[in-house]
Symmetry: C2
Subunit: 111 residues, 2 copies
């Protein structure tokens, strides 16, 4: 919340941020897909071997929601979360970690 | 949980299921990206104008995790969830609905 509104509307910057967050967290990137909305807002996903990262932005509210969904022990989702919070210039944020299913996959929910 | 293991490993079937769930729920599909893992498992996303649907499958455990993330009032996430549960042949499932952020976006978390 209370993010930099220009960054939230900059598809290339958001793509770079999500890819950086994935690799810095130790994930293996398999693919990505980003979409810009009219008049504003971006949705983007990075598919990683260990699951996915997702972001949706609402620049008009300075708000972004992101998920960092990982399985296994090789990825550090909290590192990806920190990078996202920093790069989006978020003055406020909430993070919730959810363990899911019998495999104890982890989902870090931001925003 | 306790899903049909063959379906969980069938990329084309899962893609069809996720796209059907999106459109039947009233969403506007913008794009999709699916990936098959070796030796088994599929990750797939459908980007919709109202956010996204995601699925990760672990056929070896008969387990799938899915998210249905929507904003606005035009999409019925519970309808998409029901379609996923039915088509995956899930004998057991858990669903959690999370409201996120100041915009009250909704995320239905399956599995």
């Amino acid at each position: 919340m209370d993010c930099n509104k220009e960054i939230l509307n900059d598809l290339d910057s958001l793509k770079d941020t999500l890819l950086t967050a994935a690799t810095e967290a130790g994930a293996t990137v398999l693919g990505e897909s980003f979409h810009r909305f009219n008049p504003h807002g971006v949705s983007g996903v990075v598919i990683i071997a260990e699951s996915h990262l997702f972001i949706h932005t609402w620049p008009e509210y300075g708000y972004a929601a992101a998920d960092i969904f990982t399985c296994g022990d090789s990825v550090q989702p909290e590192k990806a979360a920190k990078i996202l919070i920093d790069k989006l210039g978020a003055k406020n944020h909430s993070t919730v970690e959810i363990e899911r299913g019998p495999l104890a996959t982890k989902q870090s929910v931001l925003g």
